[in-house]
């Protein structure tokens, strides 16, 4: 029988790791993800898992050990945040290219400087072109569930790509809330054993990872990674349905909330979507056709589905918890591009909020919907909650 616990996003993720019992975890602590390897180290010390837990001297070494272990054929998990993620940057594309299905608990925290430990999405957004799947979770339950689901997605033979399971630093990672924990046996049966295609440790069929590929073949190998991402879009729903059969919870790529007949839709990711959904309910009572689209899968970006959902709206606002300094914020850029390709000239207001952990209040969402309804949409990026 599944059990209910009051737990945090980090602890729930660590609990999923205990149940998954990966072969190798290599990690280095950084706030706010520290709880994950810390809790997991307890499991290792108390003999609750068989994992080879590799403590290293930096994040760069942590992810390097992960890639190598995964290439060797192991099932591998780790976690990090912020500048720790940035220090791993060099190795992420190698993990993507080597097709190592690592599942990574990424607890979103802003990239310094200025140094700040709180949430925004600047750490993961900086890694959006690395050949990793990006899944963004709204709450602790989703972080727990997604850790388990992501193992099957990453190791799917048509995918074989690493996955970031993102949750909002502190807001989700340290907030305590009820989470339903599945039976150990159910998780074990769902994830099964990893069946690696070309494990380095298969000495009877030796392979070489990391060999040179100059101008003759580099391009082709990148093209294969693009195909793997396209395959994510094809196989994801199947994996999510299988997970639903075990858990009773289905997680779509795009979480649509009252968007079917909505005139005005706010697009958002992760924990702030709860606030937007509340405001949607409030405005619906006032007769305003508001809706919320939460983007859970950012890489690969489900552009066709996004266009279908937003295509009937009168105006759209996109909330980014990250910047592209000097350009369009990452989520807004994707949304505009998806709408352009489907030939819909829908006004899109790009908004940045919550940088460095700044709170996001219902009032911001309320005002935004009102502006959309009043046709106040401009090409200028807006900054919600900025002192100005």
């Amino acid at each position: 029988m599944p059990r209910r616990e009051i737990t945090s996003g980090n602890w729930a993720f660590a609990e999923a790791m205990r149940q998954i019992n990966p072969d190798v975890v290599a990690a280095y602590p950084i706030t706010p993800s520290t709880d994950i390897p810390m809790k997991f180290a307890d499991f290792v010390a108390n003999g609750k898992v068989d994992t080879n837990f590799v403590t290293v001297e930096s994040e760069h070494s942590a992810i390097t050990a992960c890639v190598t272990a995964s290439a060797a054929g192991a099932r591998v998990m780790t976690a990090s945040s912020a500048n720790g993620v940035a220090l791993m940057h060099e190795i992420f594309p190698i993990a993507g290219c080597f097709r190592t299905p690592i599942v990574f608990g990424l607890v979103n925290r802003c990239i310094g400087a200025p140094i700040n430990i709180h949430c925004d999405h600047s750490d993961s957004m900086a890694e959006r072109d690395a050949g990793w799947v990006h899944l963004y979770c709204e709450d602790a339950q989703e972080a727990y569930d997604t850790a388990i689901l992501a193992i099957r997605l990453a190791e799917h033979k048509d995918v074989l790509s690493p996955v970031f399971v993102c949750q909002d630093g502190f807001i989700t990672s340290h907030g305590f809330e009820p989470v339903e924990i599945l039976d150990d046996a159910a998780v074990k049966a769902f994830v099964g054993e990893r069946d690696a295609d070309f494990p380095l440790l298969d000495v009877d069929h030796p392979v070489t990872y990391g060999s040179f590929a100059m101008s003759e073949y580099y391009f082709e190998i990148k093209r294969q990674q693009i195909e793997a991402m396209k395959n994510v879009l094809k196989v994801y729903d199947g994996v999510a349905k299988e997970f639903e059969a075990v858990s009773g919870r289905f997680y779509p790529k795009l979480d649509r909330y009252r968007t079917e007949d909505a005139d005005f839709i706010v697009v958002v990711m992760s924990s702030a979507s709860g606030v937007v959904k509340d405001v949607v309910d409030e405005l619906r009572e006032q007769g305003i056709k508001a809706g919320c689209l939460r983007v859970r899968m950012f890489r690969p970006f489900p552009a066709d589905e996004v266009a279908e959902i937003l295509g009937t709206a009168k105006a759209v606002a996109v909330l980014d918890r990250a910047l592209s300094i000097g350009g369009t914020a990452p989520l807004a850029a994707e949304i505009k591009s998806a709408l352009y390709d489907c030939g819909k000239n829908i006004p899109v207001q790009s908004c940045v909020y919550g940088l460095g952990g700044r709170d996001f209040f219902p009032q911001y969402a309320r005002e935004l919907f009102m502006d959309l309804a009043a046709g106040k949409v401009s090409r200028e990026e807006r900054y919600l909650g900025l002192l100005e």
């Binding site: 080597f98 294969q224 195909e227």
Partner: protein, 114 residues
């Protein structure tokens, strides 16, 4: 989408679908690489001093310490030896001496060496 086979036998892939996944090369070639060519210092073993404690054999990163199969050191295989000097450093009997490779291979080689 992936190609499994022997890189040497499969010929040049003509389409991206035929390139082995992730740039993996099938087979392994490290054994054929003479890393000894990278060496600038050569370990010279003295069978008179050696007590076959096997510390060097255990620590050599390039499995270059030769034994007779019965736990007796018989010499050093210079095919892989990169001249790191770990064996000389670790030897309790100072039975291994690191000497410049030029003594063995450069002009005038052999003058001071073997």
């Amino acid at each position: 989408m992936t190609n499994r086979g022997n890189s040497a036998e499969m010929g040049k892939p003509k389409r991206w679908q035929d390139v082995p996944m992730g740039g993996i090369a099938f087979g392994s070639s490290a054994e054929a690489v003479e890393t000894g060519q990278w060496r600038s210092m050569r370990p010279v073993w003295d069978g008179e001093k050696c007590i076959s404690c096997l510390l060097c054999w255990n620590q050599c990163p390039d499995r270059s310490i030769l034994t007779d199969g019965n736990g007796k050191v018989t010499g050093i295989d210079t095919f892989y030896c990169k001249g790191c000097g770990i064996c000389a450093h670790i030897c309790p009997k100072k039975a291994i001496e690191m000497r410049p490779e030029s003594e063995f291979t450069g002009p005038g080689a052999g003058a001071k060496g073997e």
